[in-house]
Structures are given as structure tokens and as C-alpha cells.
Symmetry: none
DNA sequence: ACAATACCGTCAATCAACTGACATATCCCG
DNA sequence: CGGGATATGTCAGTTGATTGACGGTATTGT
């Protein structure tokens, strides 16, 4: 699945260059010049990362950043800021607001791509093809394999996606609604109880080799791994 | 628990400045000028993040970085590179090697601290201020966990919401009416006496590990935490 | 001492999660 | 193309924890 990117940039020429560059890298790109609309789009289809110009119409980049961070669904989406001047004060303010990185104009698309890749490697290891590990549980997204304590575990497709979703967010409690949209897709009309069943199946699979139950049930909230 | 930092820097003056700055920020700091030794220290006590100078004696920073990444235990520890004047090629190469960020000299400690905080916010939300803390009581809303003096505390959903409500308003006296609307919702027709009961349960839970009672009863007014 | 207020132990109703069974849907192999 | 195996979603019954309410007792301030 191609990672989705949201680019918020109001200079049409730069926006086009960025869209073109990232699509060539294999990203699925959403784009808008408008801060308000960016928030709407992000809420609708949470992207895997956001490229955000500091100076845009309507809302300032910093304000968009702050509002994204306040939104629990979007709080963990990485944000890269594009800033004009490299004033240290601005950069620090950007980082403190919740941006994960910034790039000062002018920059080459190649550098921006490299920075994004570095951020993604951290936040979505699966998209970078890295195997993820939690205690003795490892998941290799490329080989589509899961091991517990070295022993191979067989999972169905949905169970695999569910586990991957958990491993990308270790320790976090995910509500059934979040899991439905994250694992089945936002346009899915799955019963929330079905999540219980898949969790049960996943549990049975990863605990079959022995060892403690790694999935924690949080009553009236959801589940978490780790 | 204070996050641990490993600083690998062979310029004694800069090293001292960094150690001093980060200790002032509340980090526990390990330091070495030597790449080989850095790998040993990291393997021994995995730090929460590494600050790594690009140009150091013995092993180059880039090689240290690569070897850290190969080590499964350390593969996910965030690394910030310190580079001299920012040649774009070098910066990209650093990022591709697995560094999570870089800072070009000269830089102010403040900027480096802000960048580290941004990286940590991502990798260790629990260490970056997302969790609320009052004395030895901590509540992590993302992981839905409560600890007292490091010991995990199990709470029911209502108790959790109640505690969260208190921790968001430390020291403030909250009336039973305020608590009912705040914790149970505006349209709840709960008896006010029930608040007493939940407070009692919450008390029993958070004091079970010993330590003083952190909830203060204010007669004819309500309760407060802290 | 007294009146008001808070605390406590108990209990029944409720709620949320777990479970096993079943009916489709999908995949895979020849 | 067909048939078996596998995977998936739904449902309904069960289980166990949580919660709100009482009534009696203890504490507190005046």
C-alpha cells in the first residue's frame, strides 16, 4: 500500500513540483493550498505524513500544526514544515509546536525526500520495509512473516494487518472505531464487535507458542499491544 | 524516569557544553569521545537517544550509525547527527544511513534540545510530557496507564476518568456537582453521594502501593488532588 | 454535644468483553 | 472449472468486572 502524503502549499509552482516529485517516488499525494481545507482532508483520510508550508493563506502553518496535534487521531502523524527564512527562533518555535522536522527554502526535492524518508522510517517502519520488534515478537512486512521467540506464526491477512497496525503504535490504546478505520478502511461498515473476534484470533495465534498475552484489553476503551 | 542520552563528541569543549545543557534539561547523560566505545556503551545500557558527531576519532560517525542500526537492540534508538557546514550531499547521506535528524554546526544548545524533544515526542511519547505527573503519580492517557512510584495501578473506566479529571486540574477543589458533570456527563442523573464512593475506590487504588493519600477531602466543598 | 457531612461494606443490576458456532466469501490447487 | 481448505464477518449466550445505590457508622466543626 502506497503511503499517502498531504502537501499544504499555496505557491502553485512549488506545489506542482512537490506533487510531481513525490508521486515519482511512489507516494500517493493529496494537495491543497488552504489550511482549513488541509485540516478537513486530514480528518477525512489521515495521511501518513504532512508537508506543511509555514506561510500559507487563511491559517498560518503553525496554527494548522497546532490544531492537527490537538486532534487525537492525527496527533501522531509526522509533519515537516517548509520555512522561508532560517531564523533560529522560528525553527525552534516550529519544533516546539509539534513539527517533526523543517526544511528551509530554497531546498532541493531530493533533500526533502530524504528527510521525509528518515521521518517515515521512524514512524511507519512497515512502509520502509523494516521489520518491527516488540519483545520477542517480530513482524517482517516485506516477507509477510511473523515470529514469536523465533518460531514462525501463521496469520490470516486480516490478522496480519491488525498486528501490523498494533506494532506501528506500540503501547497505544486503540479504540474499536480506530481499528476498524485503520485496518479495514474508512469506508468499511464492519461491526465493532468483529474487532473483538479478530483480536481473539490474533491472540490465539501469537500466544500459541506460549508466553504472556501481549494484547491488553482496556475496558470501554479498546486494545493495546506491548 | 529520566531519559538517558548518549553523546559522542570528541571536541572536549563542545562535549562539556552539551553534557551540561542536557543535564540541566533533566536528561541522564553518558558521554564518550570514541566511536568504538560508544558502541560498547550503547550495547551495555541502551540509551533513549544518541547525539553523534559526524567527524570523530577512530570510527566515522556514519560508520557508528550504520553499526548501531545493524544491532537489533539498538536499531530503533533515535540518532541525531552533528555535522559541520551543511553540504547537502553529506546531509542526505546521513539521513539515508539511518540518522533521524541532523544539526549543522554552529548551533545553539537550545535548538538541539528542541530537536531532540521533537524526536523523543515521536519515539517515547511517555517521556516527552504527554503523560501527566503529580509527585510520584503518573497518568499516560495514550497508553491508558496509571503508575504510582513506578508500580502499575489498575483502574476501572470511571476511576480512570475521575483521576484524569483531577490530574488535569491539579490542586483545584472540585465540587461533587462539577465532578458529576465533568466525569459522568452533563445529562447524567447520578446521585452526588456516588462521587464519594468513586473517590473512595480511587483512593484505595492509588494508595494501595503505600504512600500518603493524595486526594484531599474539603468538607462541604469537594475534593482535590495534589 | 450535636448536627452536618463524609466514609465504609455490601449488593443487585448493568455493561462490556469473550466465546463458540455458523454461514459466506475467498483463495488455491489440480 | 470445480472442490476443498481457509479466512472472515455476524450473532447470541455466557461470564466476569464495574458501578450506582443504601443504610449504618465514623468524623468533623462549631
Amino acid at each position: 500500500m502506497a503511503p499517502t502524503l498531504l502537501i499544504v502549499e499555496d505557491d502553485p509552482a512549488l506545489a506542482e513540483l512537490l506533487v510531481w516529485s513525490f508521486e515519482a517516488e511512489g507516494y500517493k499525494v493529496l494537495q491543497t493550498p488552504d489550511g482549513e481545507e488541509a485540516l478537513l482532508i486530514a480528518a477525512e483520510t489521515p495521511p501518513d505524513a504532512i508537508i506543511l508550508d509555514w506561510m500559507i493563506e487563511q491559517l498560518s502553518g503553525i496554527e494548522v500544526c497546532r490544531r492537527l496535534r490537538r486532534h487525537p487521531e492525527l496527533a501522531s502523524v509526522p509533519i515537516i514544515m517548509l520555512t522561508a527564512r532560517g531564523e533560529e527562533e522560528d525553527r525552534i518555535r516550529g519544533l516546539e509546536t509539534g513539527a517533526d522536522d523543517y526544511v528551509t527554502k530554497p531546498f532541493s526535492p531530493r533533500e526533502l525526500i530524504a528527510r521525509l524518508a528518515a521521518v517515515m522510517r521512524r514512524t511507519r517502519p512497515a512502509l520502509a520495509g523494516q521489520t518491527m520488534r516488540i519483545e520477542d515478537l517480530e513482524l517482517d512486512p516485506v516477507a509477510h512473516r511473523v515470529r514469536r521467540d523465533g518460531k514462525e506464526i501463521g496469520l490470516g491477512p486480516t490478522e496480519f494487518r491488525l498486528l501490523q497496525h498494533f506494532m506501528e503504535r506500540p503501547g497505544r490504546v486503540l479504540s474499536r472505531a480506530q481499528l476498524v478505520t485503520g485496518v479495514w478502511g474508512h469506508d468499511s461498515d464492519i461491526e465493532e464487535r468483529t474487532v473483538d473476534v479478530q483480536v481473539k484470533r490474533l491472540r490465539a495465534a501469537i500466544n500459541s507458542t506460549g508466553g504472556r498475552d501481549m494484547i491488553r484489553t482496556v475496558r470501554s476503551a479498546g486494545y493495546s499491544l506491548g
